[in-house]
Symmetry: C2
Subunit: 458 residues, 2 copies
């Protein structure tokens, strides 16, 4: 990879940046227009992330962040963990962005100057005690999101540096969720959920989950962050699937905004919050995808997968649409359940489960695991049933014993279904699948929800 | 260094941890007793940091975080950047600690359960609008402190990984201060300062610094973080000086608490805030000092220096005693001004300015810089004056030209004053100096302040 930007790239990035700056300056007229500002910041995020990935690649390689692409003829070393660059740019952007959503409140509270104290005194006179008009809990919720994302990035980089063991890794997102959980506990503490209609005779309309709600939030973080980390291994798939999910959430958020929903809709604010976190994420991810798409010039590292998953988890939890999020992560969920027999060593698990690169054809084929010891009877039978359902590809010897099977990942299953194909076509196929399942999920969310709830909140 | 803990160490750390856990559980009776909880958390911070430094040393060396001690006969490689372990443990502890200072408010607002909404509705009925009783701005200020500290740690680790250039490094703390500045801007926005009596006829009692206040906060962060990074180089000095400063701030904070000040004193809350941030810092620093004191078994890395400096800056700014903090950092400030001629290349600056280790005596001697080209007239004269003032040690040739001088650091100056000495005695001498200057600073702060202000806020 050339570390210098080409002249075209420099001009394009510079004009994008200038345009975004211009938009940002304009937002100060009116109410700060946070959504427009967020879009402009996302453009800046894209431009700076794009340039930094190129400039820092060599430094990463020198410091030992490098890897070989197993699915290529020429396996040169390319920078690894470049997702960390995205993540840091992203954090920087969402921190700088903080004043915009609160601009209106700052202006209202201080008449534009620094004299909030005067204002508070007036209110004190009026009501006999201090009345905060400022939306503090919105700020605290935003800050707790930033804190949790910063945690996951630090822990992800730690993982990329020290190669933490698999059973410890899984819990990383739960640790990173702690700031969010604690601020939630301290500042909001609403742990009730709406009960589906069929269960209402038993549980009432609202059910207080209590501390179980915190367990649910922690599990959501673990699921979201790890599920993206598991559906990985071919060029571009980690970033592209995250982009698809992010765009689907943005689509869902847009349904709650002005032309589609009556204003002010009770859920508008939470979905705006969600957009503020997602748009810059889309910006940095596009810049990374440009360099990570087939043939990859950089690898993303575990940091990116954790980071992306945590963005979704934080977004879903604090934006109050975590159940919708689960629907969007169905392919990842399927991949996790499908992988479970190997992950939990019910059947042998090789060190790598990437598809196999066939150097003669240049195509990827599904990789296989050989069973050196014969499998126990029930497991062998289960594999045969999966084979018959076209959910696995097994080979048997003359005695009818299963001697090998395709590895248990969605990526290999796709190759079982559609045969060997080039790496980018494989990635595109999976992305199309992700998109289709996502739209189906959203359709279920908004059309079928009425079957179990009294109303769709849209 | 043995990576395993000895049996005595295991038992001591375990009993300390159990004791601290016991205390923590007890704090739930009553109002949460945050100060007691903070002390218990600091004990836990010490124990876990102590163990982690030992367990992770090898992993750090394997990943290239290692260095040689230039001031020893046997220069074996020891782990570097272990301050990052401290910093991560510290962050974890201050995040977990969040509920304690707000426990009283949580109980008051929710009657101990999760039914805050009910409470809010009641208040809404009473006053016609929503009234938050929860001290949101205290929470936001705490969260912004955590965010800035997390930033400095990430950037510090980045620096230790990629060896950022000196002129970029200096600005790292300013970047890390951004979250704090932004939250300050959004949520508090008080930018007035009390004007000293002699200036009041011109400026009034309160002077609004406006955006200059933000510049002041950024500069404070740059000064505090870099000044500790510059007074470094011998075993234990970075950690021990930070401990001395932290203990002096704790002493000053204690002056505002119950037996020393009437309760409720208007500044009590800010000084409690300061203690909550400092006590766990003292815990992790003690664990690091145990391994970094002469003869050092680990190095602390730039991460620790930035981290320590930023803890002080955040503490001073959000605790509203930044001017007092400057008094406590006087030795560092002197070291910076004294170093300036070399830092800004007015006189030549060698790559390392550590004291020179004399292998024959086992003592440290002041290191010297040779002037290969003759110095310009005014600079040579200035050095001669410094020499006469005993603030430098120069050598002249027969023509009266300055051919070498001691390096421009406080550490070398100490060796010029008191002659060669062993590394730990040198460190102890400097620490005694730091302590003496600190107490003098506090004395000035509380006794002399009345000369320029109408009242001491103590």
């Amino acid at each position: 990879m050339s570390t210098a930007l080409s002249r075209t790239e420099v001009y394009s990035l510079l004009s994008l940046s200038f345009a975004c700056f211009g938009i940002l300056i304009n937002t100060f007229q009116g109410d700060g227009e946070p959504l427009i500002a967020s879009i402009a910041f996302s453009g800046l995020a894209f431009a700076s992330c794009y340039a930094l990935i190129r400039w820092l690649g060599d430094a990463f390689v020198r410091r030992g962040f490098k890897g070989r692409d197993m699915c290529k003829l020429k396996q040169s070393e390319i920078p690894e963990t470049m997702g960390a660059v995205c993540a840091v740019v992203y954090l920087f952007i969402i921190i700088i962005f903080i004043p915009w959503p609160f601009y209106k409140d700052i202006v209202a509270a201080t008449s534009g100057g620094g004299n909030r104290d005067v204002m508070e005194e007036l209110q004190q006179v009026e009501t006999g005690r201090l009345l905060h008009k400022f939306p503090h809990s919105k700020l605290a919720s935003y800050l707790s999101a930033v804190l949790s994302l910063q945690c996951i990035i630090s822990l992800g980089i730690g993982d990329d540096l020290f190669d933490i063991r698999w059973r410890h890794k899984v819990l990383i997102p739960a640790v990173a969720a702690i700031p969010m959980l604690i601020v939630y506990f301290v500042d909001f503490g609403v742990t009730q959920m709406v009960v589906p209609t069929p269960l209402r005779p038993y549980l009432g309309e609202l059910f207080d989950l209590g501390w179980l709600y915190y367990v649910y939030m922690a599990l959501m973080s673990i699921f979201s962050a790890n599920s993206i980390n598991i559906l990985a291994g071919i060029n571009g798939i980690e970033v592209a699937q995250s982009l698809v999910i992010a765009l689907l959430i943005v689509f869902n958020d847009a349904l709650y905004l002005s032309p589609f929903a009556p204003y002010p809709h009770p859920a508008t604010d939470s979905h705006l919050f969600s957009l503020y976190l997602l748009l810059p994420f889309i910006g940095v991810s596009l810049a990374l995808l440009k360099h990570n798409w087939y043939p990859a010039k950089v690898f993303v590292g575990d940091t990116y997968c954790y980071f992306a998953g945590m963005v979704f988890a934080v977004d879903g939890i604090l934006g109050h649409f975590s159940k919708t999020l689960i629907l969007l992560l169905l392919p990842q969920g399927f991949n996790f359940i499908y992988s479970a027999p190997q992950l939990f060593h019910i059947v042998p698990c090789p060190r790598h489960r990437l598809p196999r690169f066939n150097a003669r054809t240049g195509l990827l084929e599904c990789s296989r695991v050989e069973f050196k010891k014969p499998l126990s009877r029930p497991i062998a039978e289960a594999l045969k049933i999966l084979h018959r359902l076209r959910l696995l590809d097994i080979e048997t010897n003359e005695k009818g014993e299963v001697v090998s099977s395709s590895n248990f990942t969605l990526i290999n299953l796709w190759l079982v279904w559609f045969g060997p194909m080039r790496e980018d076509r494989l990635a595109l196929g999976l992305l199309a699948f992700q998109t289709a399942v996502g739209f189906l999920g959203l359709f279920i969310r908004h059309r079928m929800a009425l079957l179990v709830f009294t109303q769709d909140n849209w």
